[in-house]
């Protein structure tokens, strides 16, 4: 069975030109199989890139990549529900539901379920599969034990995030706007100043979390490079890289090369450490401990 390296949706507010370049480079150069497109975090950002989506999707598809469109994760008003409905009504495309409202729209047809929908156990997994989900990206806080138990019974493709800052929370409140003394309604899109999220430290100056609009993320960068073999042994074939504002083509190369045994884990970790620009690695959720912790091969690169 093939092992797939997939690129999750860009969760940050990147300039349109950067986003286009990012996707064109993925199309031309990156050893990724599936690319997720679409705004997941904040509906206010959505209109900027929307006009470019057809061109980007076409370019990726022509390059042999599978494209999946991701829906918003927190749907709070009519306008946002309309956005989700419009996406789900598109013919001939695969959609990833990041809110149960999208699951409702997609019921009965082939679709994906994203990590913002809580698939924690076999009962929920079976309901999702019965309703047509063929690709399910598991929530980030699941442990190795849970992933293994789900993999044992899944008939769908299960995906695990193996790289990138970890999504931790969503709120009605925009913390980016708030930190700049702005209201959410007149946010001036200040989240674009932090293409990897805005660092949030403790009063002692310890790095702790990262703010991305209404989303709160880990300060650390999830890294399961050292656990790929273990994941594959339990039947996981889809690995998600969550984009950071770094050379993600090279990140994808590292994962591909480790999966293909072209380089070993230590070499891969060294390369990722050079690419990630100072963020420590973490994989605690996998080991059923604090998510911030680094265990196993990434230990020396952790906090």
């Amino acid at each position: 069975m093939n092992t797939h390296i997939n690129m999750g949706p860009v969760l940050f507010n990147w300039p349109v030109e950067d986003l286009k370049d990012f996707y064109f480079r993925l199309a031309d150069e990156a050893p990724v199989d599936t690319v997720f497109l679409g705004e997941v975090v904040c509906s206010k950002r959505q209109p900027f890139f929307a006009p470019h989506l057809p061109e980007v999707a076409e370019r990726l598809t022509s390059a042999g990549k599978r494209v999946i469109f991701s829906t918003l994760a927190l749907v709070m008003n009519k306008r946002e529900m309309e956005l989700v409905r419009e996406l789900c009504e598109m013919d001939g495309v695969m959609i990833e539901a990041n809110d149960v409202s999208a699951c409702a729209q997609l019921m009965g047809r082939d679709h994906a379920v994203g990590p913002f929908v809580n698939v924690y156990n076999e009962g929920t997994l079976k309901v999702m599969e019965h309703q047509g989900a063929s690709h399910i990206s598991l929530p980030g806080e699941l442990s190795r034990h849970s992933i293994a138990a789900l993999s044992k019974v899944a008939t769908s493709d299960l995906e695990v995030q193996v790289f990138g800052r970890q999504p931790l929370a969503l709120s009605a409140r925009c913390y980016h706007a708030r930190s700049h003394g702005l209201a959410k309604d007149s946010c001036q899109y200040v989240c674009d100043r932090d293409p990897d999220g805005m660092d949030l430290d403790t009063l002692d100056g310890d790095a702790f979390l990262a703010v991305n609009g209404i989303q709160t993320m880990s300060y650390t960068c999830a890294n399961l490079l050292g656990e790929l073999d273990d994941l594959q042994a339990m039947g996981i074939r889809h690995f998600r890289l969550s984009p950071q504002y770094i050379d993600m083509v090279k990140v994808a190369d590292v994962f591909r090369n480790v999966v293909d045994h072209q380089i070993d884990i230590a070499q891969g970790l060294e390369k990722l450490d050079e690419l990630i620009d100072g963020l420590p690695f973490a994989n605690g959720f996998y080991y059923a401990t604090e998510g911030v912790k680094a265990r196993g091969p990434v230990e020396e690169f952790g906090l």
């Binding site: 409202s101 924690y120 929530p139 806080e141 925009c174 913390y175 949030l200 998510g291």
Partner: protein, 330 residues
């Protein structure tokens, strides 16, 4: 559609609190079993099977109802205690089960179809399509709305759904979409979704640093206080942090929700029930808060203005907010 009378749904972490809530005029009590099947899995709290049976009997004798919260997400490979909790709560005569997990809802709908199902706030169903999904798929009769919606958004939502809605009006304020927050899990390894705890006491430490007291959760400083300040509990999202070189309560001040002033609007918006938070609170607190809200709900039902509740001293840090009900909060 305008609601005629708002149902008052009140917390009980202990049998004594349950009786206090019933005696103070609660229409409905919600509580949970003493394990990870509910989202308030704190030491010394919650109900044994026998205590729940007695509690239901007591509530019934005073025409009150009891709801049982089974609102965590069953662990993969080990659904047994959640399944048993569904069966036992139904056997003991719970009026409804409050659940968030899709797999558990499916189990309850299949095995105990006659016991009402409510959708927990932990399911984070914040729009009509999501709510319609739970209604059509699992025949839920009521949804507890996440604390992310303004009052006009709640009114618009109620026009598009045909299940009852329940909203939080008093007590602790989750500022993140519930059921989709792993902050506690990231810092402590203990998760609201999986373990039923947030910022657990087992991971809290206070350090005396001479002129200041530092509160920590796991390895992280959540706040620090001068000697003249009262030191609050280090709930992660109510901590003081630094962004852009400036310290602030970026997520939320140490504050509590009090939406009493919105009761008439919530009635107008078609809300069925008001939820008071606080299963970890003692019976004196419960008695005072429930009787104040009993008066407030009755006043609203009679078209009278909501009287002052006198609950200022019951709030965290003696500060109150109307949270997301007021758009300015966002």
């Amino acid at each position: 559609m305008k609601t005629e009378k708002l149902e008052l749904v009140c917390p009980a972490g202990t049998p004594a609190a349950l009786r206090a809530a019933v005696d103070a005029g609660a229409d409905t009590i919600y509580c949970g079993f003493r394990d990870a099947t509910n989202a308030r899995n704190f030491p010394g709290l919650n109900f044994s099977r026998e205590e729940l049976g007695d509690g239901i009997e007591y509530a019934r004798s005073k025409a009150s109802k009891v709801l049982v919260a089974l609102n965590t997400y069953p662990e993969a490979g080990h659904p047994e205690s959640w399944h048993r909790a569904v069966e036992d709560a139904a056997d003991l005569g719970a009026h409804a089960l409050i659940m968030a997990d899709i797999g558990l809802l499916a189990y309850a709908a299949e095995k105990r179809p006659d016991t009402r199902r409510h959708l927990s706030v932990q399911a984070s169903a914040s729009n009509p399509d999501a709510i319609a999904y739970y209604q059509r798929t699992f025949d839920v009769k009521r949804v507890v709305l996440p604390r992310v919606l303004t009052v006009p958004e709640i009114a618009a939502l109620n026009k598009e759904i045909n299940v009852e809605t329940e909203v939080f009006v008093f007590g602790g304020l989750c500022v993140m979409a519930e059921g989709r927050c792993s902050l506690s899990s990231y810092a402590t390894g203990q998760s609201p979704n999986m373990n039923g705890v947030c910022s657990p006491a087992s991971h809290v430490r206070y350090e005396d640093k001479g002129n200041k007291l530092v509160s920590k959760l796991g390895d992280f400083t959540i706040n620090q206080f001068s000697q003249t300040e009262a030191a609050g509990y280090p709930t992660l999202c109510k901590g003081r942090f630094v962004t852009q070189d400036k310290p602030s309560y970026l997520f939320e001040d140490p504050t509590s929700l009090n939406a009493a002033q919105f009761l008439p609007e919530l009635m107008e918006a078609g809300v069925t029930a008001l939820k008071i938070e606080g299963r970890q609170r003692g019976k004196a607190y419960i008695a005072q808060v429930v009787s104040a809200f009993r008066k407030a709900a009755d006043a609203a039902a009679n078209g009278q203005p909501v009287p002052p509740l006198g609950l200022e001293n019951m709030s965290e840090g003696q500060k109150e907010t109307t949270g997301a009900y007021n758009k300015r909060w966002q």
